[in-house]
Amino acid sequence: MKRCILGIGLMVFIALVGLAASGKVTLLYMTAGDINMLALAQNVLGPMFSERYPEVELRTVHTGPGDAGSQLIFEKLRAEKLSGKETWDVDVAMVHQIFMSWAMAEGDLLLQYAQDLSTWQYVTSPHAKYALGTPVEGYVMPMFHSQVAIAYNPKYVPEPPRSYEELVEWVKAHPGKFGYNGIKGGMSGVAFVVGWVYWKTGKYEKYAITGPYDEAEVASWEPIFKELKEFNKYVTITAGNVGTLDALNRGEIWMGPVWVDMFYTFMLTGKMDPNIRLVLPEPGLPGQPMYFVIPKKAKNIEWAKKFVEFVTSPEIQAKVIVEKYNWYPGIDGTYIKDYVSPEAYARLYRDITPEELRTKGLSFALSKYHTAILEAYEKWTIGG
C-alpha cells in the first residue's frame, strides 16, 4: 500500500516537473477506473481541453480499477491534508461512489464547487445528491452513469423475463444458459447479487438510500443467499465482466448481466453479436456514476472548475460520453439530444428507455450493507 502511494507520488512529481519547464498551466488530473479512463483523459479529454484553452495542459495519473483505485486517490488527498501544505498537487480527480463515503467522513478534503458551474443546471440525477447514502450535493459532478442490465439473445429468448421472478423460472427451465460472473470477477456479477437482495427483501430504500445500517437485517439474509445458492446450480459462472460478454457472443449462454457501456462498445467493435438485446427486469439493477471532485486546496481551482464544466457540457457529454464511450450521460439526457447523433441516441435508449432507467436504474447498497452483501454471498452462497 505504502509503496503504491510512493509510486503514485513519484508519478505526480514527474508530471509536475515535466510541465514546470514548459511554462503552461498544468492541471493534474487523477483518475480511478479501468484503463479506458486513462485513455479517455489522455487521448480525448486532454487534447480537446487544450485545444479550447491552449495555455493549459492536462496531466493524467491513473490509479487503477475498482474501489482500490479510488482508495489510492483518497490516501493521496488525506496525506496532502495531513502534511499541512498550503496547496495540494492534485487539481481534479475522478472517483467512484464509495470514495465519497470515505472522503466525507474524513472531512476537509473536498471543495464544494458544483453550484458554481454553468453546467450544474443540467444535473438532475439523484446520484448528484447522495452517493451510497452519503450527502454529496455540491461536492460532485457526475461525468457519466453506467448501468448493469440483462443482455439476452433473442434467437433463443424471444420473450425476455421482465422481472427477477420470471428470470428464476426461465433459468430453471434452461439450466446453464444464464451466466454471471459471481462476485469476485467484476461488478456486473456484484450488481446482479445486489439486485437479488433488493428483490427478495423489498428493502431497496433502507439498504441503498436512507439506512440506517442494522446488523439484524444481515442475519435475516441467510435464506435469501441459500436460495441464490440453489439458483446458482442452474447457472454458468463466467470468468469476469468480459467473460459474460464473450460467453454471450459465443452462444455458450443466452442471457447474463452486463455493463451497458461495455456491451455497446463490444458491439461497435465487432466483438458482440449485433442481435443481442438488453432488458432491465423488475425491481431493477444497480448502476453507478463516476464523479469529478476538486480537492479543497487544489493549486488550480479555477482551471479545475473549467475542466469539469467543459466535460459536463452538453456538447462533450454527447460527443464523447455517449457517442464514443456508450455511457449514459452524467447530466440529464434531454439536454444532449441536440448534440448527439440520432443513431447514438436511439442505440443508447432503444432497449431501456429513460423512464425505465429512472425507475429501475438503482443504486448499489450503502457501503456497510454492500460489504455485508458480499460477505453473505461468500458465507452462505459459495461457502458452507
Binding site: D67, A68, Q71, G182, A239, D246
Partner: protein
Amino acid sequence: MRSGQSEGKKERGGASALLPFLLLLPAVTFVLFLYLYPLVASIIRSFTVSGESYSLANYSKAWALYKRDIIFTIEVAILGTLLSTVLGIALACYVRLSRSFVARFVNSVSRLAIFLPYVIVGQMMRSFLAPHGFLNVMLANIGIVDLNSPIQFFNIKGLLLGFLWKEVPFISFLLLSALQVINDCYLEAARSVGAKTRHVVMHILIPMIKPAIMIAGVLTFCTIVSTFTLPYMLVTESPTMVTVDIAHRVTYFRDYGVANALGVVLYLLATPMAVYYLRRTVREAIYGY
C-alpha cells in the same frame, strides 16, 4: 623491522575485520528493507484488528470464509507440482536421449512458454478452453464432445492445464542442464549390458539428477501457490485459489487484516519448501553435493 611488521599486521587486521561487514552492508540492507520488513509487517498486520488490538480474529474469519479455497490451493499446488515434475522429467529425458530433429524442435518450442507471462497464458487458456472455445469445438468436430454440454474447463482442470503448460517446459529446462553433464559413457555402459531406455531413465538419469528434480519441484510449488493471474482469469466457480481471495479482500473491502492472514497461510505453505531449498543450497556450497 619486527615492530614494523607487527604494526602492518595490526592495520590490516583492523581493516579486514570491518571490511566484510562493509561489503555485506548494501546487500543486507537491501534484503532487510525490501524483503524482511514487508514480511514481518504483514505477519504483524495479520494479527491486528482495526488498528491496535491483537487477536486471531482475522484468522478465524479467513478460515470461516476461505477454508475451501485454502484446501483447494493446497490440492492444486501438490497436484500441479507432481504432474509437471513427472512430465518435465519425461520431456527432459526424451530430449537428452533422442538425437532426432523432432526432439530438438519440441525442446526449442517448449522454451517459449518459459518467457510468456502468466497473464498471457491466462488469456490464451480463456479462449482455448471456453465452453465454445477452440478445444471444445475441435473435439465436437471429431464427435467426442456435444457442444450443448461441453467439457467445463474453468475449474481445477483448466487451472492445472494452464500450470502444466507453463511449468513443464520450465522444469525440463532446469533438468536438461543437469542431464547434459552426465557423461554418455554411463548410458553406453548400461546399454551394452542390455538396459532398455526405461532402465536408463529410471536407474541412471533420474537418480543422478535427483537434487535438480527436487529444486525444480520446490520452485514450481512456490510459483503455483503464489500465482494470481491464472486463477483470477480462469477459475470462475468456487473454490478458487487463495491469491484471488487476497485481492478480493483488498479490492472490495480494504481489509488488509484478513488479506494478510491469508498471505501468512501462503507463507506457511511455502516455508517447508524454502527451508529445504536453503539447506540444499547451503550444503551444496559447503560440501559440494
